[in-house]
Subunit: 194 residues, 2 copies
Amino acid sequence: MKKRTIDPEQKMVWVVSSARSLFVARGYHNVSIPQIVKESGVSTGAIYSYFANKAELARYIHEQTLLDFQERFEARLDGCMSTFEKLRVFAELVFEIVETDPEQMEYMMFMKHGEFLLEAYPICSTRPFRKIQAIVAEGIEKGELRQGDYLLSAVSYTGVILRAAELRLQGVLQEPLAKSADELIANAWAAIKV
Amino acid sequence: MKKRTIDPEQKMVWVVSSARSLFVARGYHNVSIPQIVKESGVSTGAIYSYFANKAELARYIHEQTLLDFQERFEARLDGCMSTFEKLRVFAELVFEIVETDPEQMEYMMFMKHGEFLLEAYPICSTRPFRKIQAIVAEGIEKGELRQGDYLLSAVSYTGVILRAAELRLQGVLQEPLAKSADELIANAWAAIKV
DNA sequence: GTCTATAGCCCGATAGAC
DNA sequence: GTCTATCGGGCTATAGAC
């Protein structure tokens, strides 16, 4: 039994979770280390012992967030046969996260535009993104989707889904996405189906 | 003839144009007033005589940018009869701006998430946004669009168009949007047509 | 109205005790 | 490993000459 001190990993979890909330709520640059210290109850020194600097903390959160999405997406793809099913699984996961953990979704959607990532953000090379492209390309080949540029079709499908997610996060769509899911998925599918 | 001094309005134009470039390139918080001074050739004092502070400068640019879009959109709507035409005009305007003045498009799309606007951003009450909703609602009534929630249909159409714009701005789509416009507009239309 | 120079502030990061 | 106290830097905004 450890009695003396708190598990460092637990502290790191607190830091990450506090920082994520604050970043999403106020934006990366409007959050100071002292604020994270206050919110997480972990001291400056400890934070800097886990992360080299503030940007790396944000980057770590970003990475974890994307990784989680990726894993859940790929897990759900197992057993999906048709292109329709595979794309529906993507949409449903997005909608589910928006409702159950909007912070995660917001981090993925809004924290990507150069706030702390200095390099041009290679969103195109993100795993889930490439996976969607592959699914669409295969769907076109198999004749389940309309002929055309597979990139444009991928953009069209995800555009419908992600914009719905965005507007739901902003409060423009007032119903939970679960209620609108069927209609949205039908729309997205109609945009590219044969 | 004014010979002596430079027209203050001209200076303000320089400031606004330099600031817009810098904000888009580096993000609001990564741009300092001294940088704007250097880039625009207008002094700190002069800048603060036009704008109360940095946030207001950004807000002014945002307002002008949206206003310009709105005016051009409404001008082009004149003479459009069918729902298809009206929506196409929106898409074409978006695509045109992305190619001719990507900075403007980027400012509209990416500068809206709480960087300097402290209040929750009322994107839903933006004029062009409401206009699109009205067009879609009317289209459904007239039977030109599938039955369903008009908000979801508006989201679906604009989702396809705006995500294409976003990915083009990020360099993921390498062809000029003019080349892909027909296909994208067809996809967006297919998502909601009857 | 416009300039330069700088006040005053707050932040990120560190040093040094424990 | 972790804490508190603090430093140096860079920022926004202003004061005061012109």
